[in-house]
Symmetry: C2
Subunit: 133 residues, 2 copies
DNA sequence: GATAAGGGTTCCAGAGACTGGAAGGTCAAC
DNA sequence: GTTGACCTTCCAGTCTCTGGAACCCTTATC
């Protein structure tokens, strides 16, 4: 199948597929006589794997590692698990950070009248002034 | 003061200060005879405002808007609040997304033995297979 | 006076992960 | 034969810095 169909079936943009090829995440696609890239069902499967991995927040580099492990029949599941656990830790860190951000923002906005007066605890907070409860 | 000291006092990297100047987030600094940029305490205050805003996840563009509002004595606090609320919404969206990601990853890793055997529910999950409880 | 350390300056390139656009070739249908 | 939907390549832009090279200025020390 052509790149457009592969894109449709895998939910990976055609442009992105070419990009993945250019950075070596996937091997160069074979070409038909007219120079068009062709993809097999197996290629689409790979693209789907990539799509899922990216959706779960793995970096493209990590996806490369996961692809290697996926293709390697002699892999140890411990290697995969280690990568996943370290990623979970990172996700947790990000969630915690965002939670703090949200709490601060909520605190500030709750104290802001939000009318046509210029007094604004949000700006004061950003400027570094303490905004009391 | 020179850029290094301004950086120290504001917690904004000297390189980043120059970058902010280059994109017009802050006005061009005045220069001493030798061509060095000079900063006043007020400039440092502005940099701190920027630092706090960026820490709370506002985009540089939004920080520009916030700076305008901050400097404008006739602003309406409603404008600031609207920006902040919309940002909170975005942060909430991200937290929710990350929580889903973490749940999926946790589900998969809990089912992975993580030993030297190749069988791995994580890879199966990424490939699209259903991984049952 | 030479030199070294520790500032500062500019400009260019790279990061990550795409995405958009221009300029053009190909193919199937009408 | 022309339209429209594909495909191709290559370059530039997004966003927010950060690193590095090559160079200048100031001050202190030998």
């Amino acid at each position: 199948m052509n790149i457009g169909l592969a894109a449709k079936h895998s939910n990976v943009n055609a442009k992105t597929i070419r990009y993945y090829e250019s950075i070596g995440l996937i091997p160069d696609a074979s070409r038909t006589g007219n120079g068009y890239r062709t993809y097999s069902d197996k290629d689409v499967e790979t693209l789907r794997f990539i799509h899922h991995s990216r959706n779960l927040g793995f970096s493209v580099k990590d996806v490369g590692t996961l692809l290697d492990l996926w293709r390697n029949q002699k892999r140890a599941s411990a290697d995969v698990k280690a990568l996943a656990l370290s990623h979970i830790k990172e996700v947790d860190r990000k969630i915690e950070e965002l939670r703090k951000v949200r709490d601060t923002l909520t605190h500030l906005t709750q104290r802001c009248h939000g009318d046509d007066r210029p007094d604004c605890p949000i700006l004061k907070g950003l400027a570094g002034e303490t905004v009391d409860a």
